[in-house]
């Protein structure tokens, strides 16, 4: 039996191409920009926290340097200084609250994005908890936490919430960290 070149080329070309291939490929630029925005967001978050922290430190330095004595006894007896320090304390509390809210917002966005992509809109509380913890770890890594710490924390999610969406996500993420 012999096979000629023409026949061989025809067999080589005999591959079924998915109907929706072009549609999916055309969507890549859009999804690439969404991913870029998502990647940028934690950096913006860190930048804003750093800016706020810098301004607080600046205010504190200004307040303390404008008073010659910073001894506890002096501070306690100087009503103006006490008032200024109270204001700084209140400001720090507001910043803490803002950070907390930003973190919640960030996590909530991640949770929504994940559940719509993975089609897991209806999951129970335990599943949701596990998912949130693992998404939070993922966020922590992007914010600069050490991969080793994140890996350990995700391993705990897998151990505490086995066979959940969160555990699966953690498992996949650990694998990703290990391959990087």
């Amino acid at each position: 039996m012999t096979i000629d070149d023409k026949q061989l080329d025809a067999w080589l070309r005999d591959v079924e191409v998915p109907q929706d291939l072009n549609e999916r490929l055309l969507a890549i630029p859009q999804s690439a920009s969404t991913v870029a925005i998502r990647r940028k967001r934690p950096l913006l978050f860190v930048a804003s926290i750093l800016a706020i922290a810098a301004s607080v430190v600046g205010i504190a330095i200004f307040v303390l340097s404008s008073n010659r004595s910073t001894e506890p006894a002096t501070i306690a007896t100087n009503p103006e200084l006490v008032r200024e320090l109270e204001e700084i304390k209140a400001e720090v509390a507001i910043i803490e609250q803002a950070m907390h809210e930003a973190e919640i917002r960030e996590l909530s966005e991640r949770l929504n994005a994940f559940s719509s992509e993975a089609n897991v809109a209806t999951i129970d509380r335990i599943q949701r908890t596990a998912l949130i913890v693992s998404l939070s770890d993922q966020s922590a890594l992007q914010l600069g936490a050490s991969p080793e710490w994140v890996r350990r924390d995700m391993a705990r999610v897998i151990q505490r919430f086995p066979n959940t969406v969160g555990a699966n996500h953690a498992q996949q993420f650990i694998a990703q960290i290990e391959t990087q």
Binding site: T2, L12, P18, L21, P29, A32, A175, T179
Partner: protein, 183 residues
């Protein structure tokens, strides 16, 4: 630097003109639709990111095949590094039949998988996708003569394997017929 409109138009043109072609090569390289899909998506994602680096639009086709080739090499290396694959998982993957195994298409892909990439790629680019020998040489980074000799050797090797596979199939059918007649 290309503006966004031009970049997007060029990308769309690239999808329309070369999407199917790249998919066919990706399928022949990976042997399954799932991996081919992934490989083509990664190739187009990289193309979108690096489109501004393409100096000559007429070289788009060869440029895309170069990205696909590099991306495939990366995917193979990544798969080899994967630590999370356990032995039973690997065994299961190895035992999983092709979707169309038992049919000629499955046997053809199986035969093709016996060729190494240096012989397979010239066949896919020149014989299957109609690239000129010069363009294939550029994609593969080898001289024109090397492409020609590998093309010839790859073809002959594939034919030999196919004849062996088809021969086995013919014998098997005769056996099955014989069994049917005797029962």
């Amino acid at each position: 630097m290309r503006n966004d409109d031009h970049r997007r138009r060029l990308y769309e043109q690239c999808v329309q003109e070369h999407g199917a072609s790249l998919y066919r090569v990706a399928f022949r390289l990976t042997g399954c639709h799932e991996s081919a899909n992934e490989l083509v998506q990664e190739t187009f994602l990289n193309a979108w990111k690096d489109l501004c680096k393409l100096k000559d639009d007429s070289k788009m086709r060869g440029w895309m095949f170069s990205i696909l080739r590099n991306q495939n090499a990366k995917s193979v290396r990544r798969a080899l590094r994967m630590q999370s694959l356990t032995e039973p998982m690997i065994a299961e993957l190895a035992d999983r039949p092709f979707a169309d195994q038992g049919e000629f298409r499955g046997q053809f892909q199986e035969a093709l998988s016996h060729l190494d990439d240096s012989h397979k790629l010239p066949l896919l680019l020149v014989s299957m996708e109609g690239l000129s020998v010069e363009a294939a040489a550029e994609v593969l980074g080898v001289p024109r003569g090397t492409v020609l000799s590998r093309l010839h050797r790859g073809r002959e090797k594939l034919k030999t394997i196919l004849i062996r596979v088809l021969g086995i199939e013919v014998e098997k059918e005769i056996d099955d017929d014989h069994r049917r007649q005797t029962t």
